[in-house]
């Protein structure tokens, strides 16, 4: 995903100022991806250079936007946007997964308790999942765009936990994780007799 396509999408329904685009972008994604105004104008400048947007001629600089122009999407911009919506996002286009690399290295380097790394990660991801679920609980029915973004993060966190469970089971099969020590190992005789 690029800011570029996000801005093009928001320009679909009419010319807008940079600060307007920033506001609408954050409203649609629930501020999970905060943009600064500099990023917005840098991106608009590049889009203009590539012929995907142009300054809206009729409505030039006004006082409110600090002398900035309104931008509108061009025909080429609409084509680019349509192509973006038509093309699935590939896993390869995302940044490398630090967690997978960390676990792979934990296995390769002697003296690292891989089971403990997995467990710590699981509880940390679980806590994020709880926080996301709380956000979802507190959102209202009207915030559908925002809910979609939260759901995406929820399913992502869930997948990570399932993957960690899977890693743990694999590790157990291949080298055996030591069983955790019980909190107390001594069972008083009379209590045992009672059952």
């Amino acid at each position: 995903m690029s800011i570029k396509h996000g801005l093009l999408a928001l320009l679909q329904d009419g010319p807008k100022y940079g600060y307007q685009l920033r506001g609408e972008f954050e409203a649609a994604t629930g501020a999970t991806w905060p943009l600064n105004i500099g990023q917005v104008y840098t991106t608009l400048t590049r889009l203009e250079r590539d012929g995907l947007v142009q300054a809206a001629a009729a409505r030039a600089a006004t006082v409110e936007d600090d002398g900035r122009s309104m931008y509108e999407i061009t025909g080429a911009g609409r084509d680019e946007l349509a192509k973006w919506f038509e093309t699935p996002v590939t896993r390869e286009s995302r940044p490398r997964d630090e967690l997978a690399i960390k676990l792979a290295l934990a296995l390769a380097v002697p003296g690292v308790d891989v089971g403990a790394v997995v467990q710590r990660q699981r509880m940390s991801t679980m806590q994020s999942l709880q926080e996301l679920t709380r956000l979802k609980r507190n959102s209202s029915d009207g915030e559908i765009s925002w809910q979609l973004v939260v759901e995406s993060m929820i399913f992502g966190a869930e997948a990570e936990i399932r993957w960690l469970d899977h890693c743990e089971a694999m590790l157990l099969r291949h080298r055996g994780i030591p069983r955790p020590a019980p909190r107390t190992s001594v069972v008083p005789d009379e209590q045992e007799a009672r059952s």
């Binding site: 806590q127 609980r137 743990e168 008083p188 059952s195």
Partner: protein, 237 residues
């Protein structure tokens, strides 16, 4: 505390063949708190739930429900406490097919000696709280899975229940219906000060809880939460 489990140990069988289902587990659940128990198959999740609900006797340790130590009570006293104070929600709903929704919900009250008209009234009120009082006279077979689970939740919280125990309550439901059920369980705990224990293998379900504990080989090995707000909530009680 609604539920206070101390050093809970459950061993099946003896000697070489002994299976240690739980080994010294401590767990507390406060009023209004929902605690999720996660862990791989065979980690002791369900044993923990059956011991908490007085359906199984621990080998050692204490299970204190609303101030009563189940391990020292007689079988009859445990059964009475179960009927009055503990509600169960299962994956497969466990409703009686020959009884209507309202009759299913009223059943535990009637078994406990409540007059049937009073029990029926309480049952309809409980069904109203879970949003299906219009289905009070319908039989389980004429309901969707989500509706049946709502009946089961109404049955689990009807009367003066203090502890709600749920074993994979969304297992037989699609994800959206499952979510509605979790939202409902969550609300029951929040609004009625009921303590809840939710056993699940699904992280997305567990995330509805204030705290998530993780069992492996009968031992608690990790905990996530409580979230900051839940903490503040506990202090204010």
């Amino acid at each position: 505390m609604i539920l206070d489990i101390r050093n809970l140990t459950r061993t099946h069988g003896q000697g070489e063949q002994a299976v240690h289902a739980l080994r010294g587990v401590d767990l507390t659940v406060a009023p209004g708190e929902l605690v999720a128990v996660m862990g791989p198959s065979g980690s002791g999740k369900s044993t923990l739930l059956t011991c908490a609900g007085g359906l199984d006797r621990p080998t050692a340790g204490e299970v204190i429900v609303d101030g009563n130590d189940l391990t020292t009570l007689s079988r009859n006293a445990v059964a009475a406490l179960r009927r009055r104070r503990i509600g169960y929600v299962f994956q497969d709903f466990n409703l009686i097919p020959a009884l209507t929704a309202a009759e299913n919900v009223a059943l535990p009250l009637e078994l406990d000696g409540t007059r049937s008209r009073t029990a029926r009234k309480a049952a309809v009120a409980a069904l109203q709280e879970v949003g299906i009082d219009d289905l009070a006279d319908r039989f389980p077979d004429d309901m969707s899975g989500g509706q049946r689970q709502r009946v089961a939740i109404a049955r689990a919280v009807v009367g003066e229940r203090r502890l709600l125990l749920a074993d994979e309550p969304t297992g037989a439901l699609d994800s959206e219906t499952g979510e509605a059920v979790l939202r409902l369980l969550r609300d029951r705990c929040d609004q009625h000060g009921i303590g809840g224990v939710l056993v699940t293998h699904g992280a997305r379900d567990a995330a509805w809880a204030d705290r998530v504990v993780y069992l492996r080989d009968g031992v608690l090995v990790g905990q996530a939460g409580p979230l900051p707000e839940a903490d503040a909530l506990l202090e204010s009680r």
